[in-house]
Symmetry: C2
Subunit: 380 residues, 2 copies
């Protein structure tokens, strides 16, 4: 069973500081996890992820299964060894990608049939198969296969989806219990709460998973188009049901503000492509709001992206230089933007944890958001 | 006057080991100079250039003049400061780019009219203007404006081109003498020998430049399509005329083999986009020949690109992983390939220098080329 310790609970909110112990090291929570879908966090080197103190990164089962393929991963000793990453890894089950990327997908109680978005190859993924693949990939934390319902969706559809997801979760757990890690370290299985924005469905999903006793719980099916207040409401509702002594992971979320609001509602773990994807599109996050580095206002700007940031980009380069790199399409611009944005998200969670430990989470959150919103409108 | 010292001359060939002293540090020759056309060596970080021991990098006057523009460069304290690069920089005059990239170019004895390849803006560059711009950019070593004749070209055309190039060189030198560096370090001016593959024209060009006494001499107009043996013949011929006590720079060359052959013929400095450009196209240089990392043969290969290489890519990653990165179009693949290839070229010149110092250049060259060619055919 995954060792998770709540180190400190905020007295005024549900925010908590914790630590997750894996064979690849400790993950201090709340934590932001950079996304390395295909075995690389886009435009960022593994040694740079260590430098900016990424405690854990993500991989994606659907993508890695197709390329490089589990034969390659097994031959090379699993994903950690393949990509030379010494710290923990979490793999999403790929349920979301199968449903959003693949063609001709067909869901049945047994599993999901689909054709690869790469070459059209036919696959049939069952919960058992997904666990087998996640064993071959070898992440420390692996996710059960789920169906992520779209938003909006009829209650009837979502209800059936929750039932399917729960059955799949139980079959994943069963397969997980019957199988062993392929490499010399432990793996842990998280269940995923679904139910869209229907609180009674969320309740059913969460209670069933808690009863089954997973190593941790994810809240899935959010950040898929619903209003942000709905997202907060669901997260808040679900964390009331989830076990206190298990980590809670809000999948695919989100903006710095989303992260702080969700931490307040008792969430411990986050992942999002936003820092890297938006970075590659010239949006840089700063403590006084996001900026578009291509804007003419930065043409002669000798200052760093964020004077409070300790990343390589901020310690060495001016906004004027980074703007130039984007203007002339230099890859180095993508590298610096991605590195900085990731450091910003990771640092935000580091500072949030310190604030929780110091009993000043509410004040910290208010101050950060007020500073961040002061410049936001004018710049983005 | 540029301080250049020939430390050791090979007794059996014209190869020599030297050192060039600039205010940004010493450049040990023979040297390979990575190309950072627009203020970035593509996909490689400045700290990585230090790590792989790049002694000097290139910038391009034509490109930097257009973007970010000399106003930005001056405001930010010159190119070194703008890109945070502590070691020497050399700027090509942009003559080659004006002729190859720009539209509606019109050459006259006075200078060259052209329209920007970016936005169609009209410019008129004179030798005096080029020196002014190179002062504003602030490289340690700057090149005179030249006309690079195409290959093949009629002798009559090349003869006139040599005359034009010489007049421009003299005007560059004059302007250079009358002006001062804008930043707090010295700059040095190199003249460029032209003349195509016509040895008598090459002789005229070289003698005139030597007489004018530049800080160093480049051999231009080669590697533009002529047979490689012609290139070697011209380089060999020209170095016989150039002053012994000045550095010699063969522009835009070349393959590892080209470099060794040119060192043997008395060349000290090289630049080429090959390591980075070919790297981005999946070609990796190794001591046993170049490989295409996308080839299926590397799919399960746990070994590093080159077991003799000390770069980050070779110390941490397998061919299988780098192949995967290229297959899924991850930027990190471009980064690792560029870094490795540059280290390969730089290391080759470092080893060449040691061999010259040890009096074993001929043996070294024979061994390197024989090893490199052993696998070449089968792999590329």
């Amino acid at each position: 069973m995954l060792e998770f310790k709540v180190v400190k609970k905020d007295t005024r909110t549900k925010a908590r500081a914790g630590s997750i112990q894996t064979n690849h090291g400790t993950i201090k929570t709340p934590v932001f996890m950079p996304v390395g879908t295909r075995g690389s966090v886009k435009a960022v080197e593994q040694r740079e992820l260590l430098e900016i103190n990424a405690p854990i990164i993500l991989g994606n089962t659907y993508h890695l299964f197709q390329r490089p393929g589990v034969d390659v991963l097994q031959k090379l000793g699993g994903l950690h060894s393949f990509i030379s990453w010494p710290r923990p890894i979490l793999t999403d089950s790929g349920g979301f990608q199968i449903l959003s990327l693949s063609e001709l997908r067909k869901l049945s109680p047994e599993g999901v049939e689909f054709r690869s978005h790469i070459d059209g190859s036919y696959y049939f993924f069952t919960p058992e198969k997904i666990i087998k693949v996640e064993r071959q990939i070898g992440a420390d934390i692996i996710m059960a296969l789920d169906e992520c319902a779209p938003y909006p969706a009829e209650k009837d559809y979502v209800s059936k989806s929750v039932e399917l997801t729960h059955n799949w979760a139980m079959r994943c757990k069963d397969e997980f219990s019957k199988s062993k890690p392929l490499y010399n370290y432990n793996q842990y299985l998280f269940g995923i709460v679904q139910g869209g924005t229907y609180l009674d469905l969320r309740e059913r999903s969460a209670r069933q998973l808690v009863e089954a006793d997973f190593d941790g719980y994810a809240i899935g099916g959010l950040a898929v188009g619903e209003p942000v207040e709905e997202m907060y409401k669901v997260a808040d509702f679900v964390t009331n049901i989830l076990s206190e002594n298990k980590p809670r992971y809000l999948m695919g979320v989100g903006t710095p503000e989303n992260l702080l609001e969700a931490v307040e509602r008792g969430v411990d773990m986050f992942d999002c492509v936003m820092p890297t994807r938006n970075g590659r599109n010239a949006q840089l996050f700063t403590s006084i709001g996001a900026i578009n580095i291509k804007n003419a206002v930065h043409k002669f700007d000798e200052s760093s992206i964020d004077q409070n940031c300790d990343c390589y980009a901020c310690k060495n380069f001016s906004k004027a230089y980074i703007r130039h790199l984007f203007n002339v399409n230099e890859i180095f611009g993508l590298q610096l933007a991605s590195l900085h944005n990731l450091r910003f998200f990771i640092s935000l969670m580091e500072q949030t944890r310190l604030a929780i430990l110091d009993g000043r989470f509410v004040e910290f959150k208010t101050e950060v958001l007020s500073k961040m919103n002061s410049k936001k409108k004018e710049e983005i």
